[in-house]
């Protein structure tokens, strides 16, 4: 698989495309920062470079990987989202990272929801997990907003993380959960957004 085989995905605000050499400085800045503390970082220059090159190579070895997340209107990159399964990972993971200065605008939710749908609908996955640091409350909260639940039975990478199991594909089809996620994304896009219908109380 070459980079031309990596599909481009779109959402309302985001374009997800293959990681390219020119995106490296943003990745490096994030993984060299305290932001990376729950992902084995902060990393030094060598480790950062190797990890980024490995993100690209992962696509070829596994047939899936992490996309670079761009804003559609300005093309700037805001983070990465996708699938991740290096050696020793018990299962395929859905993962995300948003650059620290782009956090808080719902990009991780919007991008991760899209990549999960791609894995379920186009790659035939029937389940996925996210391995999270128990101290990483922001990511645990995001996993829960995506409908994932703590799976105490699932193996972890080395016992230091918690496994969150994503809802199965059927639970994301026209369900209250799926509508809730879409509404939350809409609310980030337009904070004055109000869903259609009448309050019943």
């Amino acid at each position: 698989m070459t980079t031309t085989d990596i599909p481009t995905l779109e959402t309302a605000r985001l374009r997800l495309s293959a990681p390219e050499a020119q995106d490296y400085p943003d990745f490096k800045a994030t993984f060299a920062s305290y932001r990376a503390r729950f992902m084995g970082g902060p990393l030094n220059a060598y480790e950062t470079w190797m990890l980024y090159a490995a993100e690209i190579g992962h696509w070829q070895i596994r047939g899936f990987g992490m996309w670079m997340v761009h804003l559609k209107d300005s093309d700037e990159t805001v983070g990465m989202a996708g699938g991740w399964q290096p050696a020793k990972w018990p299962e395929r993971e859905v993962a995300w990272i948003i650059w620290p200065d782009r956090a808080g605008r719902g990009f991780a939710l919007e991008a991760t929801q899209r990549v999960r749908r791609y894995f379920y609908e186009s790659c035939g996955w029937d389940t996925a997990v996210s391995y999270l640091d128990p101290k990483d409350l922001q990511s645990i909260r995001l996993a829960e907003r995506l409908g994932a639940e703590r799976d105490r039975e699932a193996a972890t990478v080395d016992g230091n993380e918690v496994s969150y199991r994503h809802p199965a594909p059927a639970r994301l089809r026209d369900s209250q959960l799926a509508h809730g996620i879409e509404m939350e994304i809409q609310n980030y896009i337009d904070p004055l957004f109000t869903p259609k219908g009448w309050a019943l109380d």
Partner: protein
């Protein structure tokens, strides 16, 4: 993108990595032979390194090849190619055989020669370097045979290494 380059020599095919190469590569990098290159490392770290060798092609436009015999290009037994982690330094020429029993037959020299010639003629690179541990006698011989000139001004990475410099005038190394 130049990530589909294949080099051929009399006895060897140097081709892009494939997923099935990983197990043999990991066995090498988690084993004692990796002591010459900063190892041994865990299988998880070997995975990152393996994926990074593939991603290197996209980052730099060149990279490392899997070394196979011409008879069977499914069975890789080493890697050779170009490595440039820091764009402030010239690319490194690297060669590695994964199994001790493949040493002593000129495979590393043959692979490295092909890569060196590709780097100078097809890529037009002006200079290459190589870093070899002082106790790695086999690789020191390869570097010298390929026309490497010791250059103490180059930075080294792992402990007691000799840095070599190669320039396009370099001859030698023909198998």
């Amino acid at each position: 993108m130049t990530d589909r380059v294949i080099l051929r020599t009399d006895r060897l095919t140097l081709r892009p990595f494939r997923a099935p190469d990983f197990d043999t590569y990991a066995a090498y990098y988690t084993g004692p032979r990796a002591a010459f290159v900063g190892g041994p490392v865990s299988r998880a770290e070997a995975f990152t390194k393996f994926c990074a060798m593939i991603g290197h092609w996209q980052m730099r436009g060149f990279g490392r090849f899997a070394i196979c015999r011409v008879e069977d290009d499914t069975l890789a037994f080493g890697h050779a190619g170009l490595l440039q982690l820091d764009t402030g330094l010239p690319p490194e020429l690297t060669w590695t055989l994964w199994h001790g029993e493949d040493e002593g037959q000129g495979y590393a020299r043959e692979a490295a020669t092909a890569v060196r010639d590709y780097a100078f003629t097809q890529l037009g690179l002006p200079v290459l370097t190589a870093l070899v541990r002082r106790d790695n006698a086999a690789s020191l011989r390869v570097a010298e045979t390929l026309g490497g000139v010791e250059d103490a001004t180059l930075p080294t990475r792992f402990g007691d290494e000799v840095a070599f410099r190669f320039t396009p005038g370099t001859t030698g190394g023909a198998a």
